[in-house]
């Protein structure tokens, strides 16, 4: 509503010009606002869940590898991580110039204890599920260690690139957190604010430029946007796509609109009626008008999906024909599956991510044309998560991931989040082969075949990939488009600086 008023009234302050050509200026502080966070906010990057947790994780800690703005793995604390012939042993070479924020150098022991901490059976951290096959870690010399696995995993390096795979000293204590990231903790109040300051021992060659970063929790988008418009914050993460134009009309504000691999799929349980019938799943996918979804749910800020995930994976089969709305064919398939008069389904939804509930409503309208009557069961977040994974027809959200990582998380036996209860033998065999295939081209071929199975008979309706939209003041430099799906350039605040009036 406030934004609507902003649109009507125009802007009061004239836009000033700022020199942001660079080189970056040193100093200053940045105030970042975002919606989310609560009493369970954590300083432990290994357990990061909400936006504030992720911003703290990326700022205070480092990982062996990281995903760059194009979602390509790059070295970070490790100079290289390479698999053996069947990807059962991975060897990591560590940088020799890394120091933690207390000045101590990083050692092989720190890396080993960091991963022991993540997979600790007493208190498993977020990354534990993707490291269940980690048998042991062995120190080879002062700079080198081996990760030995029970089963092949050609995508283990992607796990090392997740922001939760943080490397911390052996004596890490979350009450007085020490990491090797560009910033270190100054003060923290859960659900309210975090102040970080420049890490004087930071090992990186470039940045950070800022002396201080404040992360500010909001519980309401209106208050968040108001704080930007009244210049109480310098950048805000994740604005609703529908408000982009309105906010952009303020000359002082810049919009960061990043294409990402983030998607908000509909999930159909393939083991229960009516979705145990492949034809029903196909009919539902044909009932969706994908451009319409992008337009109405994401205000056009997104790219179209083809019922396959991992759009940025080099092996994504872009040559498969784009599925489009085909009501006649959908009706035919439904009739063939024994629903000649259409069918009624319940769609369970909750505001788990911006756009999800809207997508449910748009889908219900579109599907009606094909004789599919959708009754929407809108829950609150807590109730939704309590029964998550048990709904016949529901929704989910995923940030950018490559194919194997996404499969391991959602569509393989033992996957922690198998929303569609997928257990396709042929698919599983292909993924297992791909996990063990270290040759990129051969693995790409296997992945493309597996993707085709998802395209033909998978339980997901992936109608599109949502852009990540952030806003910031015109005097802030260093934000670039980023594909990870994590806001404000993947929260890489080490690159951000404050410009001077030109």
């Amino acid at each position: 509503m406030s934004a609507v008023l902003a649109a009507c009234g125009g802007t009061a302050a004239p836009a000033q010009q700022f020199d942001l050509e660079g080189p970056p200026l040193e100093g200053g502080s940045l105030r970042v606002g975002f919606v989310g966070g609560g009493a369970s906010d954590t300083l432990d990057g290994a357990n990061a869940t909400n936006l504030g947790d992720i911003a703290r994780a990326v700022s205070m800690y480092n990982t062996l590898l990281y995903f760059d703005d194009d979602y390509v793995l790059q070295p970070m604390l490790a100079t290289s991580v390479t698999p053996n012939d069947d990807a059962t042993v991975w060897t990591a070479e560590l940088r020799d110039d890394v120091t933690f924020s207390d000045g101590r150098p990083m050692t092989v022991e720190d890396v080993i204890s960091s991963f022991e901490r993540i997979v600790d059976p007493e208190d498993p951290k977020s990354g534990a599920a993707s490291l269940s096959h980690l048998r042991e870690m062995v120190k080879l010399d002062e700079r080198t260690l081996e990760f030995r696995l029970d089963t092949s995993d050609t995508a283990l390096d992607e796990t090392f690139g997740q922001y939760t795979s943080i490397i911390v000293p052996t004596d890490f204590d979350v009450a007085a957190p020490v990491g090797s990231g560009p910033f270190m903790l100054e003060s923290f109040t859960a659900a309210q604010s975090t102040v970080l300051r420049r890490n004087p021992h930071y090992w990186g060659a470039e940045g950070p430029y800022l002396d201080e970063v404040s992360l500010l929790n909001f519980n309401d988008t209106d208050a968040l946007i108001n704080s930007l418009l009244s210049n109480q914050v310098d950048a805000i993460a994740q604005i609703p796509p529908a408000l982009t134009e309105v906010i952009a009309s303020d000359q002082r504000i810049k919009i960061l609109n990043s294409e990402t691999g983030m998607y908000l799929p509909f999930t159909m349980r393939v083991d229960r009626a009516p979705f145990d019938d492949e034809r029903v799943r196909q009919a539902f996918r044909l009932a969706v008008h994908r451009e319409g979804m992008i337009e109405q749910v994401l205000s056009g800020k997104g790219t179209i999906g083809n019922d396959m995930f991992a759009a940025f994976d080099p092996a994504y089969p872009g040559e498969l024909s784009q599925r489009t709305q085909d009501i006649a064919e959908a009706k035919r398939l439904l009739a063939e599956a024994g629903h000649p008069d259409g069918l009624e389904v319940e769609l369970v939804t909750a505001p788990i991510q911006a756009g999800v509930v809207e997508a449910a409503q748009v889908f219900a309208e579109q599907a009606a044309e094909a004789g599919i009557i959708v009754s929407i069961n809108r829950m609150d977040l807590t109730a939704y998560w309590t029964d998550y994974l048990n709904y016949d027809f529901s929704q989910s959200f995923w940030y950018t991931r490559n194919f194997l990582a996404q499969s391991n998380a959602a569509v393989m036996p033992g996957a922690p989040f198998n929303e569609t209860h997928w257990a396709d033998e042929e698919y599983i065999a292909l993924v297992e082969q791909a996990r063990a295939e270290v040759d990129d081209a051969a693995r790409g071929e296997l992945i493309a075949q597996a993707q085709e199975i998802l395209y033909d008979r998978g339980g997901y309706i992936i109608w599109g990939f949502a852009n990540q939209i952030d806003a910031y003041q015109g005097y802030v430099g260093g934000f670039v488009e980023n594909r990870t799906g994590i806001p404000l350039s993947g929260f890489r605040l080490d690159r951000v600086w404050i410009g001077e009036a030109a």
């Binding site: 977020s126 209106d222 704080s227 977040l381």
Partner: protein
């Protein structure tokens, strides 16, 4: 006499508080959803849920949890927040101070302003100023806090003028009153919501008193008008108005939740919203009890003022 009344009211208050605590605990049990899942979100794996359940003592039966919490109350222990693992009292102390500060600031402005406007308007019955005050207060009374808040933000912070902060931001370790400019809009919303009621009630009561026989008598006896109002009329009007003021202040304890949401004000209201989201029963209980205590204390004070202002109650027999 008055002491006896107050003691009786206090005893009733304790019973009410106990009932409130039971009701709220029951209500939180009825909320669908599991706190561990609420906290972990999509990251919830069975192992992590189990670990968190144990940390949160959710494996104990509900009755036992309620009784141990109630026992803690008598020793001043509000329990441990399920979501953060910290003592509730630590989580809420700063927030309670912030909320009370906001309410007291609003009360200190709106009570005198409401009383003054009401009296002034009553003395000018039927004239332009009276009609204007009556009209404006009617409109304001009809508007919810939300609308007033959004309008003020658009007017003074974001769209028309950019002279006041739109939200509250106090870095860790500071208090909200360290940044007075940020308090103006939230306080203004509460003042604008509460003052009209007090003014309207004061006006109505004052008119009634001014029309009464003893005021007429005093005037006929030649008592100066100023003295008539201050010594004869006002004391009779204060009693009923105190009740309205109390209701308004108690109601403000609810309105503050909306204001805190709107202005990102770090008070009890925000803590309550968050705790409900996370099914953090201990915190919900604590906040509810604090609000209930505010209600009861404010009403008790209103009764005392009412008794002191009412000659019949002050001197007469049992009520």
């Amino acid at each position: 006499m008055i002491a006896k009344l107050i003691v009786r009211r206090l005893a009733i208050s304790l019973v009410i508080l106990l009932a409130v605590s039971l009701l709220v605990f029951g209500a939180t049990l009825l909320l669908p959803g599991d706190p561990a899942r609420a906290i972990l979100g999509q990251q919830a794996t069975p192992e992590r849920i189990a670990a968190l359940h144990q940390q949160m003592h959710l494996d104990q039966p509900a009755g036992q949890r309620y009784l141990s919490w109630l026992g803690g109350l008598f020793t001043g222990d509000l329990g441990t927040s399920a979501a953060s693992g910290q003592p509730v009292i630590d989580l809420l102390a700063d927030r309670a101070r912030a909320s009370v500060f906001l309410m007291v600031a609003a009360a200190l402005i709106s009570i005198p302003a409401g009383l003054a406007l009401g009296i002034w308007s009553a003395l000018r019955r039927g004239r332009v100023a009276d009609s204007a005050i009556t009209g404006i207060s009617l409109v304001l009374a009809a508007l919810p806090e939300f609308v007033i808040g959004i309008a003020l933000v658009a007017l003074f912070a974001t769209t028309v003028l950019s002279i006041l902060p739109a939200v509250t931001m106090s870095p860790p370790g500071t208090q909200v009153w360290d940044f007075p400019a940020q308090l103006i809009l939230p306080t203004a919303v509460l003042v604008l919501v509460v003052t009209p009621y007090i003014a309207r009630m004061m006006r109505a009561t004052m008119l009634e008193v001014l029309d009464s026989g003893y005021v007429e008598m005093a005037r006929l006896k030649g008592v100066p008008e100023r003295r008539v109002i201050l010594r004869h009329a006002l004391p009779h009007a204060i009693g009923p108005v105190a009740q309205v003021v109390a209701i308004q202040l108690a109601w403000m304890a609810g309105g503050v939740v909306v204001v805190e949401f709107l202005f990102r004000y770090p008070g009890l209201g925000q803590a309550l919203i968050e705790a409900v989201d996370y099914r953090d029963v201990q915190v919900v209980q604590a906040v509810t009890m604090i609000v209930a205590v505010i209600y009861i204390v404010v009403n008790l004070l209103a009764d005392v003022v009412g008794i002191l202002a009412n000659p019949k109650l002050r001197t007469g027999g049992d009520r």
